[in-house]
Amino acid sequence: MQGPVIAVENLKTHFLTRAGTVKSVDGISFHVNKGEVLGLVGESGSGKSVTGFSIMGLIDPPGKIVDGSIRLNGKELVGLSEDEMRKVRGREVAMIFQDPMMTLNPVLRIDTQMIEAITAHENVSEKAARGRARDALARVGIPSPDERLSAYPHQFSGGMRQRVAIATALLNSPSLIVCDEPTTALDVTIQSQILAEMQQLCAETGTALIWITHDLTVIAGLAQRVAVMYAGRIVETGPVDALLDAPIHPYTRGLLGSLPSAGVPGQPLMQIPGATPSLARLPQGCAFAPRCTLASDVCRTLAPESLAHGQDRAARCHHPLDAPKVAA
């Protein structure tokens, strides 16, 4: 297939609240190729989940996509009617959510929920749909899938539920799956199993993934490319190894420094001082400036543009850290 699976251009998703316009996503651009995993990293409130929901067309009022374009396999999603969007959702793009305890309907059996995910898009018999649901459960490593199909969600553990959610997302072989922190609520052993399985499934099926997380260690093992979000913008993007080894943006360095494994035993852990600014009242200039040790006057007055730093890398910073320098 030619071109990326998904190409997001200058996407702006704002929430028009009484307290003012909250610019949750303010002009972000990225793309994901077939079979590729893009890690979307950021703190709480940086707009990463809103990005995911924008792609799914699940932004509820007062939220609204005010500008930009989202192209899925060349097809523009922004501006599609609710009915057209519903045909895309679940078939061409699926979503996996953070809390597996909450994403399955507690009163419906697993087979009910999986079968309707198929019949919503295809005219197949219930028996055929059930067979496909069974195969999907087997594929994500659920033992005795036939029995498990007729169980209720509360009979599953957290890891098993997330597998069910993954199996459900895979049912219609979407070309893109948006994963909104799907392993955050799981313990580490289950987390690594699920990561390994997702990686394998993507390689087999060619499904592209957008992996939303705040956990850089997850990204390090899973993604090919990373986009770091801060206050509704992508502040740095690049291949995962290069970005983690030599961050350009001070915020990325701060994130890496605050990993407990990076600390010296006995010494206080690093942290980024302050908190993410209110998205309704962003400071003038660079949004990270109030928390940045390198901030100068230009940072407080002028918002930095996204500049290329060598091949495949870009950052929004007036004082990029030691990385291949490029004349502005």
Binding site: R89, G90, T103, N105, V107, A120, Q155
Partner: protein
């Protein structure tokens, strides 16, 4: 907690699949039967329903059939023998109807009116509440203001006016009772649906590309059923009482189809002349019916309320 000894098999079974029979319904049934008072209510209610259903087989007289009623038998004391030869254990009313027969037939009507109106009102109320909560915005405002308006007027008054305008009859009284009840369901269901629709499983269902109708009625509605079941019990008891009230006031059911309310009203005028039984026994039947429903309702509420869970 019961102190069962911990066996190695139990420890090994920690990861084993939960027994399949464990559905929300079986858990509910188990919790319900733990309360003896509720079980007593259920038994009493079952007896009342059985008596009402079997009425034609176990009563000596059909009170709807005016040919079987003899005016000469009027106001017989409990235990007297009627002209037809049977013993009237609960006495007869002012026109010679056997009260035991009358009460069982009356129960049929009262229960039917109570349940039918409750079910119809619950269906309408649930649909309105769900749509209001899911649609939000103007739709929600309009629907919920209608509900507020409805709830601000006294139920008896609305029912009285409706029945007075529509005339007598079982269908009309059911309609009137639906009109006064649906708003309770709408308000409660909306409150619950507002909480449910913010839960992640709704977003997950939407992300699968399901239609709005499917998300609302297949995914959100079953999660809002618990409070509705509680209100159904309370409202059914309420509806039975309200029907009796309307019939007592003379605007409910016609004299030829006596419900409990009609029977009580008929006896009312003889109260002071010593024929207490004409009102007393139908009143007792009404009381037992409502109490049995409420006893069950209390337990159902306790079981289904997540905040009261141990």
């Amino acid at each position: 907690m019961t102190d069962t000894p911990i066996s190695p098999a139990m420890l090994a079974g920690a990861a084993a699949p939960v027994p399949k029979e464990e559905t929300p319904f079986t858990r509910f049934r188990k919790a319900f039967f733990e309360d003896k008072v509720a079980v007593a209510g259920l038994i009493l209610f079952s007896i009342i329903v059985a008596l009402a259903l079997l009425a034609p087989l176990i009563t000596p007289q059909n009170p709807y059939d005016l040919r079987s009623v003899d005016l000469m038998d009027s106001r017989l004391k409990p235990g007297s023998v009627a002209g037809e030869g049977f013993t009237t254990w609960l006495g007869t009313d002012g026109v010679g109807r056997d009260l035991y027969s009358g009460i069982l037939y009356g129960l049929r009507i009262s229960l039917m009116v109570g349940f039918l109106s409750g079910l119809i009102a619950a269906s309408i109320g649930m649909a309105v509440g769900l749509i209001a909560a899911y649609a939000g915005g103007r739709v929600e405002t309009i629907l919920m203001r209608i509900v507020d308006l409805q709830l601000s007027l006294p139920a008896v008054l609305i029912a009285l006016i409706l029945v007075a305008a529509l005339g007598k009859g079982v269908d009309k009284i059911i309609f009137a009772l639906v009109v006064v009840q649906w708003a309770y369901y709408a308000r409660t269901v909306r409150g619950n649906a507002l909480v449910e629709r913010r839960k992640e499983y709704v977003e997950a269902a939407q992300s699968l590309g399901l239609s709005n109708a499917r998300v609302v009625f297949r995914h959100i509605m079953p999660n809002c059923l618990a409070p509705v079941i509680v209100i159904v019990t309370v409202q059914t008891a309420h509806a039975i009482a309200l029907e009796a009230t309307l019939s007592f006031l003379g605007v409910g059911l016609p004299q030829t189809e006596p419900s409990l309310g009609v029977l009580i009203a008929n006896g009312f005028q003889y109260m002071l002349s010593g024929s207490y039984w004409i009102s007393f026994f139908p009143g007792l039947a009404l009381l037992l019916t409502i109490v049995s429903i409420n006893l069950m309702g209390d337990r159902i509420r306790d079981v289904l309320n997540p905040r009261l869970e141990k």
